[in-house]
C-alpha cells in the first residue's frame, strides 16, 4: 500500500508533468504532420517571407520560398527526431554493453575496447564523417550509423568508469560470493547503479545529434537536403537572420523545447529509479 502511493506520488512532480507533456505534444505533432499539414513543401513565391502572427494561413510566417514555417517545422521533426533518438539509443546500447564488458572483465577485453576508443577519440569527427560517407554513401541510415559509431565511446567511457568503482563494492562482491552468474550481476546489480549518468548524457546527446545531422547535411554528407529537418532549416535561415528571424528561430525553438522536455523527463527518470530518493549527478 505504502509502495503504491509512493509510486503514484512519483508522477506528481513538476518535472514529470512538464517533461512528459512537452515530449508528447512535440512527438504527437511530428507523427501526425502528414495529416495536420499536408503539402508542407508547397512553394508559393507570391507569399515569400511573410512575418509571423500576421497571416492566419501562416502563423509562424513563411520562408524565402513562401513555404509555411509551422508546417515545415512540424514535418521537419520527422527526420530530426528519428536521427536524434535512434542514434542515441543505438550508441547507448552499444556503448553501455562495451563499457560493462570492459569494466567488469578487465584484462584483455578492457585493453582492446579502450585502446580502440582512444583511437577513435583522437580522430576528428569531420574526418571520420567524410571518410565514412565517402565509402558508404550518404543516406538516413548511414547518418544514423555514423553518429552511433562516433558516440558510443562516450557511453563506454562513462560506464566503464562507474563499473570499475562498483565492482569493488561489497554488494557486488557479496553477489559473487553467493555464486550469482556474471551476466546477472551485470544486469541486476551494476546496470541499475550506473544508469543515472547515462540518462543525463543521453538527453544531452539527443540535442547534439539533431544539430550534428544538420551540419552533416550542410556539408552534403547527410540526408537529402531537400527533405526538411530542424537542423537544415536552422542552417538555411542563417542568411536571413537579420531580415527574417522567424525562418531560423522557430526550428531552433522546436529543438530547444524537445531537449528541455527530454531533459526534464531524464532527470525525473533518474531520480525515480533511485530508491533512496536523493538527487545524484
Amino acid at each position: 500500500m505504502a509502495a503504491n502511493t509512493s509510486r503514484l506520488q512519483r508522477f506528481h512532480s513538476l518535472e514529470f508533468i512538464l517533461g512528459a507533456s512537452l515530449t508528447i505534444i512535440i512527438c504527437g505533432a511530428v507523427l501526425l504532420s502528414d495529416v495536420l499539414f499536408p503539402g508542407a513543401e508547397k512553394v508559393n513565391l507570391l507569399s515569400r517571407l511573410v512575418p509571423p502572427f500576421t497571416d492566419i494561413q501562416h502563423v509562424f510566417g513563411t520562408d524565402p520560398l513562401g513555404r509555411d514555417v509551422l508546417a515545415r517545422v512540424v514535418a521537419g521533426g520527422k527526420i530530426s527526431l528519428l536521427v536524434g533518438f535512434t542514434s542515441v539509443v543505438g550508441a547507448v546500447i552499444f556503448g553501455v554493453f562495451m563499457g560493462l564488458v570492459a569494466g567488469y572483465y578487465r584484462g584483455f577485453w578492457d585493453m582492446l575496447v579502450m585502446r580502440f576508443a582512444d583511437l577513435q577519440l583522437a580522430m576528428p569527427f569531420i574526418l571520420l564523417a567524410i571518410t565514412f560517407i565517402a565509402i558508404v554513401g550518404g543516406s538516413l541510415t548511414n547518418t544514423i550509423i555514423l553518429l552511433i559509431v562516433s558516440q558510443w565511446v562516450q557511453y563506454a567511457r562513462v560506464v566503464r568508469g562507474s563499473v570499475l568503482t562498483l565492482r569493488e563494492r561489497e554488494f557486488v562482491l557479496s553477489a559473487r560470493a553467493i555464486g550469482v552468474r556474471d551476466w546477472r550481476i551485470i544486469v541486476q546489480h551494476l546496470l541499475p547503479n550506473l544508469i543515472g549518468p547515462v540518462i543525463v548524457l543521453m538527453t544531452l546527446n539527443v540535442a547534439n545529434n539533431i544539430l550534428l545531422e544538420s551540419s552533416l547535411t550542410f556539408l552534403g554528407l547527410g540526408v537529402d537536403p531537400t527533405i526538411p529537418s530542424w537542423g537544415g532549416m536552422l542552417a538555411d535561415g542563417r542568411t536571413y537572420l537579420q531580415t527574417a528571424w522567424w525562418v531560423s528561430v522557430f526550428p531552433g525553438l522546436a529543438i530547444l523545447l524537445t531537449v528541455l522536455g527530454l531533459n526534464l523527463l531524464g532527470d525525473w527518470l533518474r531520480d525515480s529509479l533511485d530508491p533512496t530518493g536523493r538527487t545524484t549527478g
Binding site: 509502495a3 563494492r169 561489497e170 562482491l173 553467493i178 555464486g179 552468474r181 547503479n193 529509479l273 533512496t276
Partner: protein
C-alpha cells in the same frame, strides 16, 4: 590557580540543536575544565558528533539550527560569534581531530607544508620558523625521523602515523581545548594504545581541556576524568568516570555497560557462553535470553574445512616487460581446520592477511599455492559445478552492512538471491515464504522484505545480511569483521544471534576480527595472525589465559580495559606494522611452529 580551576574552560548550557524539524541534541549541559578530559559517550545517532561540531560551529554549514542554549568558551558565547570570529578561534584556541586520518590530510601537499600552513596562518610565522616549529611538533608526538617526515606525502605514512600528524597539527597553536571525535576508531589496537598514551601525556604537558567523543567504553575508562552519556540526543547521565562505571544510575548506561565485551570475562570457561542480555524495554532494563554453554563443536567428525600451506601473493610492481619486482605476501603457509559446529577466530591487525584468507576460501581470490578442502574434498579436485555448489555451502558476511546490500534492490530480493541462484526452492510464493521465515528468524518482520536497505539501521542491515547468508542453508559462514561497524549493544545482540544459529543448525564459523574481547566471547579456537603468518593457534583458553607468543601478549595488552580502576597503560608501545610489500627474492622468512601443549601451536622466532 584555584580560581582558574573553578572557572570552566568551556561551558555548554542547555544546548539544543535542530536539523529541520528533528531535534538531534536536546538541552545538553556540561563543562570542561583546563587539564581535564570529558568523554561524551553514546551510540550512533545519539548526537555526540553534532555536539562537537556545534562547539566548533561547523554544524552551521550542515544546516543546523541552534534552538536554545549557550556555549561559553572563556568569556564568549560561541553561538553568538560570527563565522569570521569563529575562524580565529578554530585551530587556534579550539582544535579538533577527526576519525579518519586517511581523509583529513590533503594528499597533494607534504606533511611539512600542511603543518606550516596552520602556523603561518594563525601564528603569523615565517616559513623557516614554521618549519622548525613543525619539526618540534612531530618530535612531540613521538614521530621518529621528523626531519625526513616533513618532506613526505600523506600516502607514504601509515594510519597511525597520519593520526599523529593530525594531533601535531591540532596542537600547533597550543589550543586551550582539544575536541577529539573518535580519534582511534579507525586504527588497530596496538596503534590505538600508542595514540591514547601520547594524547594523555600531551594533555598533561600542555594543560589543555579535552572533549573526547567515543563509543568505546574501554577508551573512556582509559582517558576520561568525567563522562557524559548521551542517548537519543539527551544527556542521560553525567559523573566522574569511576562513578559511572561503578554505579551507573540511568537504565541506558546500565545496559550500555552490560553490553561491553570485557577481556578476561571468560577466564576459566572451557567453552564460549551465550549470555543473557540486558536490553531496555519501555526504558526498564530487563534481562532477556538464556545462558547456555556453547558446546557445539563436533571434534570427533571429519574437519568441515581444512586449509593447508596456503600462500596468497599480490604482484605490486612490475618492470616494463611485465616482470614482477615487488610482491605482497598476504598469506604465507597458513594452515588450520574448522570442525562442524565450531567457531574459529582469525585475529590480527590490518595487513595480517585475515580477510584474504576468508576471501580465498570463498573463491573471491585465487591462491598462489596450497590446498583448501571442504568435507575432505580438495577445491582443486572439484569440477566447476562442485565449486559453484561451494558458494552455497560457504557464505560470507562482510564488515560493512551499509555497503554489502545493493541500494537499488529490495531487501527481499537480496535475501532471495542465493535461493534463486542455486535453484533451492522453485515458485515465487515459496521463495517469498522462505524469505519471510528468514527475516523473522533474525528478528525482523516479513513486512520488511519490500523495503530498501537505506530504510534500515546498521544493526538491522547486518541482520539482513545474516538472513541472506542463511538463505542457502550453508554449513560454514565466514564473518569478516561482521561486528566491527556496529554499536556495542547491537553487537551483543548479533553475537547472541550467531550463537543461537550455531546451536540450532550446527553451523561452523570462521570469525575474522581484530577485537580480542569479542573473540574471547564467542570462539572455540583462535588463530593469531601477523603479516600473513600464524603466530599462535590454540583453544580459546590457551590463547587468552596462557599466551606464549610475544605478539599475542602485545595484542592482548593493547586492548583498552573497560575499568577505570585498573591501572592505566603508561608504557608507550613502540613500533609500527611494517610494510608487507617486499622485493622478489626478499620474501619474509617462513616461521616454523611447535606444539607446546596439545592443540596449542606457537611460531618459533626466526
Amino acid at each position: 590557580m584555584t580560581i582558574e580551576q573553578a572557572k570552566p574552560l568551556l561551558a555548554v548550557e542547555g544546548l539544543s540543536v535542530e536539523f529541520g524539524n528533528s531535534r538531534v541534541v536536546d538541552d545538553l549541559s556540561f563543562t570542561v575544565h583546563p587539564g581535564k578530559t570529558v568523554a561524551i559517550v553514546g551510540e550512533s545517532g545519539s548526537g555526540k558528533s553534532v555536539t562537537s561540531l556545534s562547539i566548533m560551529r561547523l554544524a552551521d554549514t550542515m544546516g543546523a539550527k541552534f534552538a536554545a542554549g549557550r556555549i561559553v568558551f572563556g568569556d564568549r558565547d560561541l553561538l553568538k560569534a560570527s563565522q569570521k570570529e569563529m575562524r580565529t578561534i578554530r585551530g587556534k584556541e579550539i582544535a579538533m581531530i577527526f576519525q579518519e586520518p586517511m581523509t583529513s590530510l590533503n594528499p597533494v601537499f607534504t606533511i611539512g607544508d600542511q603543518i606550516c600552513e596552520v602556523l603561518m596562518l594563525h601564528e603569523k610565522m615565517g616559513k623557516s620558523a614554521a618549519m622548525a616549529e613543525a619539526r618540534r611538533l612531530l618530535d612531540m608526538v613521538r614521530l621518529p625521523d621528523s626531519e625526513q617526515l616533513l618532506k613526505r606525502y600523506p600516502h607514504q605514512l601509515s594510519g597511525g602515523m597520519r593520526q599523529r600528524v593530525m594531533i601535531a597539527m591540532a596542537l600547533a597553536c597550543r589550543p586551550k581545548l582539544l575536541i577529539a571525535d573518535e580519534p582511534t576508531t579507525a586504527l588497530d589496537v596496538t596503534i590505538q594504545a600508542q595514540i591514547l598514551t601520547i594524547m594523555r601525556e600531551l594533555q598533561k604537558d600542555l594543560g589543555m581541556g579535552m572533549v573526547f567523543i567515543t563509543h568505546d567504553m574501554g577508551v573512556v575508562a582509559e582517558m576520561a576524568d568525567e563522562v557524559v552519556v548521551m542517548w537519543k540526543g539527551k544527556k542521560v547521565e553525567q559523573g566522574p568516570v569511576s562513578q559511572i562505571f561503578a554505579d551507573p544510575q540511568h537504565p541506558y548506561t546500565r545496559t550500555l555497560l552490560a553490553a561491553v565485551p570485557r577481556l578476561g570475562s571468560m577466564t576459566g570457561e572451557e567453552f564460549p557462553k551465550r549470555l543473557p542480555l540486558t536490553v531496555l524495554e519501555n526504558d526498564v532494563p530487563t534481562v532477556v535470553g538464556e545462558e547456555r554453554v556453547q558446546d557445539t563443536a563436533r571434534y570427533n567428525e571429519v574437519p568441515l574445512l581444512s586449509v593447508k600451506d596456503l600462500f596468497v601473493r599480490f604482484d605490486m610492481r612490475k618492470t616494463m616487460l611485465g616482470k614482477v619486482t615487488h610482491r605482497l605476501s598476504a598469506v604465507s603457509k597458513v594452515g588450520f581446520d574448522i570442525y562442524p559446529g565450531e567457531t574459529l577466530a582469525l585475529v590480527g591487525e590490518s595487513g595480517s592477511g585475515k580477510s584474504t584468507i576468508g576471501r580465498t576460501i570463498q573463491q573471491l581470490q585465487t591462491a598462489h599455492s596450497g590446498e583448501i578442502s571442504f568435507n575432505g574434498r580438495s577445491y582443486s579436485a572439484m569440477s566447476a559445478a562442485e565449486r559453484f555448489r561451494m558458494r552455497q555451502e560457504v557464505q560470507y558476511i562482510f564488515q560493512d552492512p551499509f555497503a554489502s546490500l545493493d541500494p537499488r534492490k529490495t531487501v527481499g530480493f537480496s535475501i532471495a538471491e542465493p535461493i534463486n541462484t542455486h535453484g533451492l526452492i522453485s515458485g515465487g510464493k515459496a521463495v517469498r515464504r522462505r524469505v519471510d521465515e528468514l527475516l523473522e528468524r533474525v528478528g525482523l518482520s516479513s513486512a520488511h522484505a519490500d523495503r530498501y536497505p537505506h530504510e534500515f539501521s546498521g544493526g538491522q542491515r547486518q541482520r539482513i545480511c545474516i538472513a541472506r547468508a542463511l538463505a542457502s542453508d550453508p554449513k560454514l559462514i565466514i564473518a569478516d569483521e561482521a561486528l566491527s561497524a556496529l554499536d556495542v549493544s547491537i553487537q551483543a545482540q548479533i553475537i547472541n544471534l550467531f550463537m543461537d544459529l550455531q546451536a540450532e543448525r550446527g553451523l561452523a564459523y570462521l570469525f575474522i576480527s581484530h577485537d580480542m574481547a569479542v573473540v574471547e566471547k564467542m570462539s572455540h579456537r583462535v588463530a593469531v595472525l601477523y603479516l600473513g603468518q600464524i603466530m599462535e593457534m590454540g583453544s580459546r583458553r590457551q590463547i587468552f589465559e596462557t599466551p606464549r607468543h610475544a605478539y599475542t601478549r602485545r595484542l592482548l595488552s593493547a586492548v583498552p580495559v573497560a575499568d577505570p580502576s585498573a591501572e592505566r597503560n603508561v608504557t608507550l608501545m613502540e613500533g609500527e606494522i611494517p610494510n608487507p610489500v617486499r622485493r622478489v627474492g626478499d620474501e619474509p622468512a617462513i616461521l616454523a611452529h611447535e606444539e607446546i601443549d596439545p592443540g596449542h601451536f606457537v611460531a618459533k622466532s626466526a
